[in-house]
Symmetry: C2
Subunit: 468 residues, 2 copies
């Protein structure tokens, strides 16, 4: 490439090469870039997706394909000739291939699997057999294994032979003749050891393995707690099936993050980037929960209708309805997200429910009292302003009772909000559901109806015979 060309930005160079229709130069150019830069190019030029992937060296194309969004991956597969798809899918590491395939419809999966060579087909079908979100779906069968009686020299020979097809050689696995996992060895120990040392002299018997049916989130925790870049995956009989590499965990964490945040906000998990979800699908994911919440919130209209007479007698009561409701909702959202987060990262377990409840009873009382006092003084202040004619008098002679009603209601509503918010995720988890479903809107809705009942009950207590 001429010096002049090299001074242009990657985007500009790419545009020139595409215009020149020089496939050879384009291939050379693409092979020289970092895979993240090529992915960036694909983002910028969606029309050339298939061209870019189709033109690159296949092992590089695979690295780029792996990190693209699912929508881009689908587009590429749609626009590539069959022989290129076959090349790409066969070259793709088994775990990434499973990841991609599980996003497609069954009929498309069938068509694509036909393109695989017999060996890869067998692996893929077996990986797709594991439950979604299980470690099985993440594992790759491409790893290096040795036996206890091997020497360091033999290990190095094995590595040289198989490293090309192995996802990582940072950790080597030791198995016995039955295929059972004995231990893992870091490459560091192998390089540091004398060539004639035997495997059983190097290993320390401290191996951490994942079960193929483990939850991916669990795997994430295990990686966090053990200093390994890859972990072996075994079945219930301790037979080594594959390995999971730590880079997959970054994607798992990311997915978990997105799903939980979307659920907390009251949307079904999108599973696709926001801007790529088709509008109709976006509406489906959002409307469902909104309608459920709306139908539940209709109970507030029923509750309000029930207290219509009281409101007619004392319109002033209706003035504080939004304030009371939102305070319950806000304290509920706070409590529920705190507990969802604490359970997700393993700080709180089901058995801690009583400790949480005790904490939240005190929290609710404290926070409710703070808001109650502020509410009380706000009404007292307004009353002063009204007395001096600075604003219209809404409270009348019973301002003090009204202030007490608002103050005490706030304590009750905030206490109820924090209790509901904190217990709901725990109950959901106990029932086997995802705690993140106890979204802020869900909690707020649960708290709203009860909040109204608390408010009007307190009002009856204080204002009976006065305003009511």
């Amino acid at each position: 490439m001429s010096l002049e060309l090299a001074q242009l930005s990657i985007t500009q160079q790419f545009e020139l090469l595409v215009q020149a229709e020089n496939k050879f130069a384009l291939n050379e150019f693409l092979n020289e870039q970092n895979i993240s830069d090529v992915a960036e190019l694909i983002n910028q030029f969606p029309d050339y997706e298939a061209l870019i992937i189709g033109t690159m060296a296949i092992h590089r194309a695979v690295s780029v394909f792996k990190i693209l969004d699912i929508s881009e991956q689908k587009n590429i597969i749609k626009n590539l000739p069959n022989y290129k798809i076959a090349e790409l899918l066969n070259e793709l590491p088994a775990d990434d291939r499973t990841d991609f395939l599980e996003e497609l419809s069954n009929s498309v999966i069938r068509d694509l699997i036909k393109l695989l060579n017999p060996e890869e087909r067998k692996i893929t079908l077996s990986l797709l057999g594991y439950p979604e979100d299980s470690v099985g779906r993440l594992m790759t069968p491409d790893y290096v294994y040795v036996y206890e009686h091997n020497t360091v020299e033999e290990i190095l020979a094995t590595i040289r032979k198989f490293a090309k097809n192995s996802e990582t050689i940072d950790v080597i696995y030791v198995i016995n003749e039955k295929g059972e996992l004995i231990d893992d060895i870091k490459i560091k120990s192998i390089i540091l050891a004398a060539p004639d040392k035997r495997v059983d002299e190097i290993i320390d018997g401290r191996v951490v393995a994942l079960n193929v049916n483990d939850d991916q989130e669990h795997a994430n925790q295990v990686f966090k707690m053990n200093n390994r870049v890859a972990l072996p995956v075994v079945d219930d009989n301790n037979i080594l099936l594959g390995i999971v590499t730590i880079d997959d965990m970054l994607w798992v964490a990311n997915e978990e993050y997105s799903e939980d945040i979307q659920k907390i906000g009251g949307t079904e998990a999108l599973n696709e980037p926001y801007l790529d979800v088709p509008f109709f699908k976006l509406m489906q994911k959002r409307a469902g929960w909104l309608i459920v919440l709306f139908l539940s919130e209709m109970l507030t209209a029923t509750a309000m209708g029930y207290f219509a007479d009281e409101i007619a007698k004392a319109v002033v009561l209706s003035i504080f309805v939004p304030l009371i409701m939102s305070s319950g909702g806000n304290s509920g959202s706070q409590a529920s997200t705190l507990i969802i987060q604490a359970m997700a990262v393993g700080d709180v377990h089901l058995k801690d429910w009583w400790r949480v409840m005790r904490r939240e009873i005190f929290s609710g009382l404290t926070l409710g009292t703070i808001l109650g006092i502020i509410g009380f003084f706000r009404i007292a202040l307004w009353h002063e302003l009204m007395k001096h004619g600075m604003i219209e008098d809404l409270y009348g002679m019973h301002w003090l009772e009204i202030a007490f009603v608002v103050g005490f209601s706030l304590i009750g509503v905030v206490l109820w909000g924090t209790l509901t918010g904190s217990m709901l995720p725990i109950i959901l988890k106990k029932l086997g559901a995802d705690p993140a479903v106890s979204s802020a809107p869900f909690v707020a809705t649960l708290v709203d109806v009860t909040g109204l009942v608390i408010y009007f009950s307190v009002a009856m207590l204080f204002l009976k015979g006065l305003l009511l």
Copy 2:
């Protein structure tokens, strides 16, 4: 250890050994367990924290200490004799040490730094000099580097010499005489290459480096997009300062997850496990936002007061206030969490604001119309029931106008909610704040007041001269 002892659970074995007060056997026992199991023991027996850490081999104690919660780490440091603390801190990898120290008060940091040997002290002080949440705080200076003119044989010799103190040897770094980063080489390529090959024959010139001032979240993205277990960290002059390993990214992702979820729920980030935060601190973190939200929500009382005359004339209007308000809040929470999540994972950027806004205008209209139609028919249905005397008649002869008021208000309020919810995170980011601050409660509060105004304005339009 006797066979009998080995059949007991880890917890039981530990208890026996502690009771026997046999330090030697305890040391041997602890050294044999996985570090995650030892961490588990520390969780179960907080009183023995310092004993466990103090009894283990120092390099194992360090591995356990690294993965403990900050509160446990603090306790251990409090209860260990100074010489043990010195040993532990000096042995701790520089990045983990920085992580731990930055959680402590300045006076404690000063005391602890005095315990470090001069070399480690210098490294620590320089790492603490980088901004919090920067890559600089994560990096470790323990890596293996070689020069371009080295041969593979020389590299292997270098690795054997320095690997003991190096955090990883999965990637080796190539620098020039000025200390500038030239490239990185995976250990795989080194093992596969002939011993007399020179470094400049192996390298491919494709190196991805982090800047020491980069944000940790950015580093997380770079790791996700590039297949590396460690990335080099350089300063603005491309001088190699250290490396960051991928396992740190799991902790970064975890912290990001916790902070964002807590903020979305309307709490300041706790930075400590929920059950470990002292009660007073928990109240501080929660009360602040609740009070701000409460004070803002007081505007709803002002708005309601403004429409008190209308409510007095048509109490039926007040019945739907909670329903209208919550619909705005729910649609707002949905939209804001969707955009917070999309921005956090890099699916939406500031420049996409118009695409987001256009999407949300259509989303708001669609969702609002759905809820509006449901609301309309709910009122029509109740009217039928009332006509037949099955429930108390609240709507009277103007039920159709009321149904229209509720229906159209819902369209307006939901549209306003989705717009506010989606734009607020973008505006916050533009202003340099964390988008996650636009919590569900924050958005709901913003939407509530406007929602009331929209509702009563629509009511005036439809009911003027009828009920009002």
